[in-house]
Symmetry: D2
Subunit: 431 residues, 4 copies
Amino acid sequence: MNFLIDTVGQPKIISPLAYSNNNNDFIPNFIPDDNKIRFDTIISKDKIENSQSFEMAGPRKVIYFDPLKTKAAIVTCGGLSPGINTVINALVTELVEGYGVNSVIGFQYGFAGLVPEGGYSIVELSPELTSEWSLEAGSSLGSSRGAQDVEAMVDSLERLNINMLFAIGGDGTQRGAMEIYREVEKRNYRISIVGVPKTIDNDISYISKTFGYETAAAKASQAIEAARVEAEGAPRGVGLVKLMGRHSGAITAYASLANGNVDAVLIPESPFKLEGENGLFAWIEKQLESKDSALVVAAEGAGQELFDADNEKYDASGNKKLQNIGLLLKERITSYFQEAGVPVNLKYIDPSYIIRSTPPSPGDAVFCNRLGQNAVHAAMAGKTGLIIGLWKEDFTHIPLEAAVSRRKTVDTDGSFWGSVLQMSGQPPRFI
Amino acid sequence: MNFLIDTVGQPKIISPLAYSNNNNDFIPNFIPDDNKIRFDTIISKDKIENSQSFEMAGPRKVIYFDPLKTKAAIVTCGGLSPGINTVINALVTELVEGYGVNSVIGFQYGFAGLVPEGGYSIVELSPELTSEWSLEAGSSLGSSRGAQDVEAMVDSLERLNINMLFAIGGDGTQRGAMEIYREVEKRNYRISIVGVPKTIDNDISYISKTFGYETAAAKASQAIEAARVEAEGAPRGVGLVKLMGRHSGAITAYASLANGNVDAVLIPESPFKLEGENGLFAWIEKQLESKDSALVVAAEGAGQELFDADNEKYDASGNKKLQNIGLLLKERITSYFQEAGVPVNLKYIDPSYIIRSTPPSPGDAVFCNRLGQNAVHAAMAGKTGLIIGLWKEDFTHIPLEAAVSRRKTVDTDGSFWGSVLQMSGQPPRFI
Amino acid sequence: MNFLIDTVGQPKIISPLAYSNNNNDFIPNFIPDDNKIRFDTIISKDKIENSQSFEMAGPRKVIYFDPLKTKAAIVTCGGLSPGINTVINALVTELVEGYGVNSVIGFQYGFAGLVPEGGYSIVELSPELTSEWSLEAGSSLGSSRGAQDVEAMVDSLERLNINMLFAIGGDGTQRGAMEIYREVEKRNYRISIVGVPKTIDNDISYISKTFGYETAAAKASQAIEAARVEAEGAPRGVGLVKLMGRHSGAITAYASLANGNVDAVLIPESPFKLEGENGLFAWIEKQLESKDSALVVAAEGAGQELFDADNEKYDASGNKKLQNIGLLLKERITSYFQEAGVPVNLKYIDPSYIIRSTPPSPGDAVFCNRLGQNAVHAAMAGKTGLIIGLWKEDFTHIPLEAAVSRRKTVDTDGSFWGSVLQMSGQPPRFI
Amino acid sequence: MNFLIDTVGQPKIISPLAYSNNNNDFIPNFIPDDNKIRFDTIISKDKIENSQSFEMAGPRKVIYFDPLKTKAAIVTCGGLSPGINTVINALVTELVEGYGVNSVIGFQYGFAGLVPEGGYSIVELSPELTSEWSLEAGSSLGSSRGAQDVEAMVDSLERLNINMLFAIGGDGTQRGAMEIYREVEKRNYRISIVGVPKTIDNDISYISKTFGYETAAAKASQAIEAARVEAEGAPRGVGLVKLMGRHSGAITAYASLANGNVDAVLIPESPFKLEGENGLFAWIEKQLESKDSALVVAAEGAGQELFDADNEKYDASGNKKLQNIGLLLKERITSYFQEAGVPVNLKYIDPSYIIRSTPPSPGDAVFCNRLGQNAVHAAMAGKTGLIIGLWKEDFTHIPLEAAVSRRKTVDTDGSFWGSVLQMSGQPPRFI
């Protein structure tokens, strides 16, 4: 079974892009529409090969929308992520300068900008404007959380004669995009709905990495380094850092491995205990004995099992609010060693939004440029109901439905987590 | 009245440094021992001129200690500050390569390293070793808070045949250094006690700036920028940042001015009100109305008058623990606008130790190199009981007694605070 | 045909690593020895699928060398690259802390350190030492170019009882490693020879990316940004940047795409003309007319066809010395517009070594840690004559012979180059 | 003798700024018009005190121009410097939000923007626009070198009803500003001419530091660090860096001291020899013998005496073009050691424009904000023919005539150069 992509119609316009189908002519090639990217690249006797594949992204020789008659729209939703403005600029530049589209607009403050109740005006977008934003942090269109009435949003798209909507956002956003896509289908409108997945948590399925993730993890590694410096600068110093990552320890694991000096990496995917000879406290004490300092990094979603399941709260996007594992560890570690008569100098750092409200790294900027370009290629070719992914180094089309079906987490059986554990030297589990 | 510096004896050894007393020979000049730096540089009809002056720092042609027989020691105390290792390296390099001193040691973990109870070993220091540390964050000697028995410390200095002790630290440290200096005087030992003032808060009297302050403020301005991005990225976004600064708003004011987009700068020196038409809430609302976002930065010592004076706590150095103004503002701002029916999207950032556990900026590195060199010049000349200061662009000698007599704060009548207010546009007071 | 890896013997020792073979036990899994990574992941009607695959890297459950009896050696050769020290630290940490190896040494200054003529002493390596180096720029072991007598090098390995040699270096280094490997085989010694490919040019075959490449490209993008600022700051400003890349335009293309404002990207893979209506000059003039500035970035190996093939020179490693395309473009562009009566303000920037003598980015640090770990896993398992690669997001074993057989270049038919051209808007060729 | 400032008329309008004249009211104070800043702060028996003083900058209680009727203009000239946009934003913000001025315009591309021949249009400036630019590199107004016809420029000022012109630029620019000021005086126009001195070389008289200098030096220290890494990474490695600084070694000295590992600092102020036992070559050899590497940093204006005084060239601003000391040293050092039979691995780095086309550091941003604010205070008070300086930590007014009368250089008798020499350990002179 492969992932099937919907289209809004049959492409029959020759693409204006300066691509060719010839090899060795120094000119990049169009992507044949039936090219696929293998899901499974590991050949192993121990498992049956997964024969799934993704549609390959890229410019098609024959496209659906006539650029001169095309009107495109962009919306950015959810929490900020490094590179949103780079994606916006890539979308606008590819539409206007690549395909010759004349009209591109931006909705302000997320889906709220698509409904009259939001009261937000529309922004005309041009490459001159968006190239100024391109490497800036944040979203120059503004963003917001939360769903809006899907019929009202599609009414707006129709009223504004939009032919394609690019939705830059995370899990919740892509669910919203899927609802819009279904409503559009129901009404039989010719509007492409193309998502660009955005989450610093890198937790979207079927996607190797999401933009902003590496930048955020890089920024997070600076907070870890500060905690290391504090821990090593004091007698019996313990550095403790809490990082974003509600359901996935990806940022925490990556940032810790980048730093290379972390003694304990705590992620939601691997429950742990504090007490006992194999617990976290004993491991910290072991570090203090051998090098007079210890460095602990926890994802915000880690150790939720240590809290009572009493008062659950939810934010505007419907996400469950987590208990603060950072403060719990700060208090419990401090009091444990206090009571044991060997107090520690614990320094707690929670960089919070600092790791995400930052310009994209050059690597993420490259990635965002290519994501935006490929989103335009997909939409111009008449593809719809999909997001742009990266898989095994190639850009792909993934149906919205598949993308939002489940969350990706750190595979505790896998080699990445293995690398993290080898770096920290910690036991595979604190139990 | 001028500031008089004590000496351990009469200098009579010719300095080995390649300085001269001739002008226009392309060779730097020795500083005559009676050179002074004016305290007061502003001439005004409105005030009587302050005729105080400082002794000028710098290399003397005739010195007291014979380099070949000199043994020097270094200790670093209190919270970390960017540039501690640069000062250490400058001290060691100037002693060994400048003057030809053969023996320099480091005490570990602050004053605790000077007493047997600490149990810490002594570190032999060489330019090869310390130049590796020089631009690294933290203190490679380790640091700690808190006082130690002064007699035990001076016993150690004598037992180790130390001729000069360099104490890198803040207010508490220099008080400790002053006690050591007095005990040394009482015992009539020939040991120079020279302090290098260290506080990111820039709150030491008679000193234009302390090392690490500008680096910390620069780092802090990154947190402000993140808050700005968050505030502008959301509808009715409020960015709120809490920065270090117990008694002085220096970091907060400097980092805010560096950012240039802060709407309200809150410092301990200027009490403020939340409610009322001239209060902080009204000002925030005004910003939200005009540009849909607001950016507030508060020093940790600001607004302490908003708390009940009930449960005062003290840390190991005897400093009063502050109430958390950041969390108070977060809660009060959120609930105020919630209750007013116009909720805000508040994003709170507390970078905490991140701003100080960072390598020195190039500017601070230059400053630290010069502080360390001048500290050595002072000690070699037999000066004692002083700290090295910077005043009106020249390095000075300041008696320990004067330096610790009172804290420097932001002058709310002065032009620096005026610049901050002109930048933010806020009223001079929220009352 | 697949890539076959040699071994020094039959593994029969159970690995001491805390890995398991069970799924869902929160413990990372050993890699079965016959796991393979597909070479070809694109399924296309237009081409026959390439059935090649690579051996998968990673820890084996059964290993060849007894850790307690193992002595490992590390050598770093060729030009500097960000992350060399991170690889060294990962090798040492995995050997000592992961497997329990007691003895790891480093040769100084490349292959010259392996022959008596070099006169360099050997460095004992420990995790305490190398973790201090880990995120520092350069190579703390020192590096050098040029080959050495292979018999003398293998004599040294034998005399020192080395069981495994890790060679961190580029194309020339891996050729040297292959010669050592062959000599070792000829002598029937039990010494694993494992290479870690290092080149900021990312031009090694069968490897998705080499470490240091992304860091160097990121640093290079800062030079491009400076040129952009200069070009836009002056009337008729032309920014011109020359970047490293003798045979591959990878850094140039990546850094240009990261910046996003480059008007012409010139790489060795795509020859170009200066004059004529489709030449570079005409394109620059077009940019000046539309936005009063132009930004050109050239790889050092670009446009070599513009020089006379007269005086070829070679460096110590036998690489042909290139003519300076940067200076040629600077002169030719300046004089062209001068003669045309519309002079330009050209600002030329050649960051040279700045882009490579820099600490690794967090992303490269993660990569280097994993490369080093996997190199140790390979060597401990008795694998030899290979380098560690990354392919489609998995780490692989590639025989030295295959890796050095040909150079990788930017595929001008491919989607990466397509993305670069879409960004710059330049015609696919200047002809 | 003091520095006298001209005025365009008698102030009689009460300032709208929220300043007071009371102490301890938490409100910043107006500056009395006759406040002065001492030139000389060192008291020494060895010299006669210089009794000169500067007028103190800052907001006056009574001002000359009626904000509602004021039209201000800004021009930026000469080479780029970090912080130009920050000064522009501070000028615009203080004018519009501080004083309530309604009309501020910018001339494009330097003085060329003031004459009809330039053909450049005028830019309306607002705080909304300029705050976007504030922390960006370069000049968003554009800049250019070279003089323009002064009568034509003053004609433009009159035609546009400009009341005050702010000229941001270096030595040449301030000479141009002085000519405009004299022409304005001749015509008896009521136009304030206020300069903001801009040069990364920090070579303007009577000014402690110019904006951009510390940022550029900080950036330059990164190039030095790269050269250090290269030098230490190769056997007998020599790192050689050339930095900007035509007549002043300020950047070179500051950046070298910030790095702390430079062995030889070469500046225009201190001529040197290459050969001989006290020459540079011998010093380099001494470093190579003791630590196998050497690090040399030269200002572009250093060692010009080593060239034949044959072919002098001049640029558009009339500055003499220098011979390339970097390339000369590269060639001479290489060939010297080649001929001596002990060749070196020399790595040459010329960061050129990279050090100046960069955003301002936070410290420079603070400085630029205050410079811009004080320039507005001066102009609003009716002061003219002056530039804003910083002297002994206070902002000052300096008559244009005095400021351009001579260049500031590094005082080789002074303590800053002394600190540099103590750091490098080099002899005071290579002769």
